[in-house]
């Protein structure tokens, strides 16, 4: 008996032999390939005939609908409409000082906001949640950009209350959104849901065994979403495994110091590293406290305090090391196993802002809102100043994925919504 799939393939082979000689390849040495790109009279006639046929079909369909008939009795009318309009090509800008390439992509359908999440996975940029700038009105919507087609689509409604400053991670197949609040210390949530862009569906995840109250931070470890927060009663942490949809409670950390704010977390590949300024009176800071968690043994390290006397700081990991950069632009390199640290000096002097620190290939990328950004080479200690296109700020949330940094531009340095939003990527030059 003949095989349907085999016959389809053979028929495809035969049609390719028929159609391939008819394909016109642009003359790459003519102006814009115009010698072969001119439409023939036959093509124009075909277009006209097709347009008339299209109109006639529309009339027939309209009449059928008016009669109550089904214009497509096959049941495909519920399928999403295929938009075959190609997105405009991206605008590409070389970085004049550090090398590499900045690429501007469409900004998407979401209104400008703060406290939203940006996750990159499966060739998509996923934005979700946040608040109207300078208000506590939270968003519960999201949208996703396909990096291949440069087209946006709205994420279906989530089974979650609107929120900002939530944890959002990409697990490899889903975006997990958990926690968050209204950005002003209210409406703190301890629930979450997972969104699959392939299936375009959300699922609520199991309830976390964690109290309401702390402002939780979270990281993806490669197999678990680990969340951790602190209150006057102590620390609280739990890890969520999306495969089993189950949480495990982490042992509380026994800290000798007070955790005053939302603790910052980093995942080094084997350990969770937490860091937070140690507050003193009148806003002074005596140093940065650092401690780590080993998931293999469910144990916490002792706390070490660096002499990085910064009120706020950002951190990133690269090649197993932790890089912390303070408000004033000073950086330390930490060994997460021993918590020994080494001062690396000022990487961005004279800016004074909370830095964004990201691993970027073989470099550490550090940026501040004064539009200063540098690539730091740990192997040589060299710095390369970046020159983003005008108006591009590398602010959180940003992601490093697939060899490039991804950021969504929608607020001016003063926090005002920009006229148009855009997604920017930066791919460093290979050194």
């Amino acid at each position: 008996m003949p095989d349907l799939l085999d016959e389809l393939r053979r028929y495809g082979d035969a049609l390719e032999r028929e159609v391939a000689p008819l394909v016109r390849v642009p003359d790459t040495y003519g102006p814009e390939g115009s010698q072969t790109h001119q439409r023939s009279r036959r093509q124009r006639v075909l277009v006209l005939v097709a347009a008339l046929a299209f109109l006639a079909t529309g009339v027939v369909v309209a009449l059928a609908v008016e009669r109550g008939g089904d214009p497509q009795p096959d049941g495909d009318t519920k399928l999403p409409t295929v938009d075959t309009t190609p997105a405009p090509p991206p605008e590409v800008f070389p970085d004049a000082t550090a090398g590499g390439t900045w690429t501007k992509l469409p900004g998407g359908p979401l209104a400008a906001r703060q406290g939203h999440s940006l996750v990159v996975g499966d060739g998509r940029v996923l934005l979700w949640g946040g608040v109207v700038p300078e208000t506590s009105n939270a968003y519960g919507d999201g949208a996703e950009l396909s990096l291949a087609t440069r087209q946006w689509r709205v994420i279906p409604e989530a089974p979650l209350a609107p929120r900002a400053d939530h944890v959002a991670v990409w697990t490899g197949t889903e975006m997990v959104v958990w926690g968050g609040g209204n950005r002003f210390g209210g409406d703190e949530q301890v629930d979450g849901a997972a969104y699959s862009p392939t299936a375009r569906t959300w699922r609520r995840i199991a309830a976390a065994p964690l109290p309401e109250g702390p402002e939780y931070a979270g990281v993806w470890t490669g197999s678990e979403l680990m969340v951790f927060g602190a209150s006057l009663a102590g620390t609280h942490g739990a890890a969520y495994d999306p495969r089993s949809d189950a949480w495990r409670v982490m042992r509380p950390a026994d800290l000798s110091t007070t955790l005053d704010s939302r603790v910052s977390l980093l995942w080094t590949g084997t350990r969770l590293v937490a860091f937070d300024p140690v507050p003193q009176l009148a806003g002074a800071v005596s140093g940065v406290q650092v401690f780590s968690y080993d998931p293999a043994t469910d144990t916490w390290s002792d706390t070490r305090i660096t002499d990085l006397k910064e009120q706020a700081l950002g951190g990133g990991t690269l090649d197993g090391f932790v890089y912390l950069v303070g408000y004033g632009g000073s950086m330390v390199q930490l060994d997460p196993e021993s918590l020994e640290w080494e001062a690396k000096g000022e990487v961005i002097p004279g800016c004074e802002d909370v830095p964004t620190v990201r691993a970027a290939g073989t470099d550490v990328l550090i940026s501040m809102s004064c539009q200063v950004a540098v690539l730091y080479e740990p192997s040589s200690g060299r710095k390369h100043n970046l020159s983003p296109p005008e108006g591009v700020n590398i602010w959180p949330p940003t992601e490093w994925a697939d060899g490039m940094l991804v950021t969504w531009q929608q607020l001016s340095p003063s926090g005002e919504p920009t006229e148009a939003t855009s997604v920017w990527t930066y791919a460093p030059a290979r050194r």
Partner: protein, 153 residues
């Protein structure tokens, strides 16, 4: 030098992609329509070659360009198997294929006649891989139902 390399890159790409693209478009545009659509897509690729070259899935994108730059005929015309040297192929395969809803026909054609992956087809049709699976499954089921006397299920 760089200009020449870019031309050489494009020519190599066009040489490989043109026939494959035309084959992919033939189920929705017919033989001549597919050639026109593939030509338009290659012209677009040439005009935007730095962007197209850097795409992960240029074929899926150019498939959409080809479709959007040409108007579909009311229903594509496809030759009977014996007209293209396949006298042993079931002649009712073509009308059965053409009778499928467009999305199902495109999905079945791209996956089983063009050997595209579900991810490539999802990008070309701007849908998800699971929806591609649904379209392929429903399309094949319908084809087998139409041709049940001749084909194994």
């Amino acid at each position: 030098m760089e200009h020449s390399e870019s031309h050489a890159d494009f020519e190599e790409f066009a040489r490989q992609a043109g026939p494959r693209l035309a084959r992919a478009l033939v189920a929705s545009r017919g033989v001549h329509g597919a050639a026109d659509a593939a030509s338009e897509a290659l012209a677009y690729a040439f005009e935007h070659w730095p962007d197209v070259r850097s795409m992960e899935n240029p074929m899926g994108y150019l498939f959409r360009v080809g479709q959007s730059r040409t108007r579909p005929r009311q229903r594509p015309r496809l030759p009977a198997p014996d007209q293209v040297g396949l006298p042993d192929v079931e002649p009712r395969l073509v009308p059965a294929l053409l009778a499928l809803p467009e999305t199902q026909r495109a999905a079945v054609w791209l996956v089983h006649a063009c050997d595209w992956s579900y991810a490539e087809v999802a990008a070309a049709l701007d849908t998800t891989t699971s929806m591609v699976g649904n379209h392929v499954s429903r399309g094949l089921s319908r084809l087998r139902s139409e041709l049940e006397v001749t084909f194994d299920a």
